[in-house]
């Protein structure tokens, strides 16, 4: 089915022709999602920013060869997923994720919440982050793309270069594992 080009595909076309303002627009539109995804993948906000920088530079250099066969955002997640998974495959860079507040970095706090609610939210976030870190990398990637980035199973399959049944299995296992971690936390806070 022919899909009309989205605005970001048009921006990529302009980047390929040397338009750096178009690239800045792409960065501004997508940096939050890329940083968020990388943070969930590697558990370290500072490292996630470094990965996000690498990812956007890859996007820039890939522009002359970019083909709009899918939505730009799906393609961007594919680049980001590959870069994060490749990073995690390097043993020297793997290491245990930082524990405590450092791992969660700049989690936004809702000013309207009381201190107990904020503390409870942070405690739950620690449980989730630890459970995420314990997942196999591809399960974590599929789960993050589904639960935090809102991608469809089909788009996740595109990003992971996997089949939809494989994505379904990855998300199922990850969701069950995390639901058990949250349930356990609820029983033993």
């Amino acid at each position: 089915m022919h899909t009309p080009p989205d605005e970001d595909q048009e921006r990529m076309r302009r980047v390929a022709l040397g338009d750096r303002d178009a690239f800045a627009e792409l960065f501004d539109r997508h940096q939050a999602a890329v940083v968020r995804f990388a943070t969930r993948m590697v558990g370290d906000p500072a490292r996630a920013e470094e990965l996000a920088q690498d990812i956007f530079l890859r996007v820039y250099h890939a522009a002359p060869r970019y083909r709009p066969t899918a939505r730009f955002s799906t393609w961007l997640y594919r680049v980001a997923t590959h870069h994060c998974l490749n990073e995690l495959r390097i043993p020297a860079r793997r290491g245990p994720p930082p524990a405590g507040e450092e791992a969660l970095g700049k989690l936004a706090a809702d000013a309207a919440e009381g201190p107990e609610a904020v503390a409870a939210g942070h405690a739950l976030a620690h449980v989730v982050q630890a459970a995420l870190a314990a997942l196999p990398d591809r399960e974590r990637a599929a789960f993050t793309l589904c639960r935090f980035e809102g991608l469809s199973y089909r788009d996740i399959a595109e990003a992971l270069e996997a089949s939809e049944p494989a994505v379904k299995s990855l998300i199922h296992r990850a969701t069950v594992a995390l639901s058990e971690a949250v349930a356990q936390h609820g029983r033993d806070p």
Binding site: M1, H2, R13, A16, L17, G18, R20, F23, A24, F27, Q31, A32, V35, R36, T39, R40, A52, L57, R58, Y60, A63, P64, R65, Y66, R67, T69, H82, H83, L85, N86, R89, L104, G105, K106, L107, A108, A109, G121, L124, P136, R138, C146, R147, A162, E164, P165, A166, K168, S169, L170, I171, H172, T175, V176, L178, S179, A181, V182, A183, G186
Partner: protein
């Protein structure tokens, strides 16, 4: 149905099943105590995830670093800008008997532009290249471009990645 159906509870909850299968699962969950309990537990877990604090976007320093790195990069070479222009569909009449050979020779030979796609049909991509030799050259370049974009050095890297995925238990 057996309670192996619970393997599809998450996909059912996510609305990722076919309409027929979705209806089957809905009927099953309504009548299976175990699956209904599991569905509730999944829902509570997911509800807790939705209440997590958001990860804040990066500050202005990241933007400055990225744009500075781009500014320090040379503009795309002329051949890359031409390739991007061609891909955008603003085609001169171009013949590419072997894309790499043509680039090496620095010669463009003209051919009639292919007919535009009919409404509703995908934009001609590799199909527009035409002859088998041209298509093969284009496929090789396409694969190399994809490898470079994804950070892999060679097709062998892609095979290693696939093997690692299998070891990790990817189904």
């Amino acid at each position: 149905m057996t309670c192996d159906e619970r393997q599809e509870l998450v996909a059912w909850r996510d609305g990722a099943l076919s309409p027929a299968r979705d209806a089957e699962m809905a009927t099953h969950v309504a009548g299976c105590t175990a699956c209904a309990a599991e569905a509730e537990r999944l829902e509570r877990g997911l509800a807790a995830l939705a209440s997590l604090p958001e990860v804040q976007p990066a500050g202005p320093a990241l933007r400055a670093r990225v744009l500075a790195a781009v500014a320090a990069t040379e503009s795309p070479p002329a051949w890359a800008r031409l390739a991007a222009w061609l891909r955008a569909g603003l085609r001169p009449r171009v013949l590419v008997p072997a894309l790499a050979a043509a680039a090496a020779l620095g010669v463009l030979v003209l051919r009639p532009e292919p007919a535009p796609p009919a409404p509703g049909e995908p934009t001609a991509g590799l199909e527009a290249v035409g002859e088998p030799a041209q298509l093969e050259a284009a496929l090789v370049l396409d694969e190399l471009e994809q490898l470079e974009t994804l950070g892999l050095e060679s097709p062998e890297d892609a095979e290693v990645v696939a093997m690692l995925d299998e070891l990790e238990g990817r189904p």
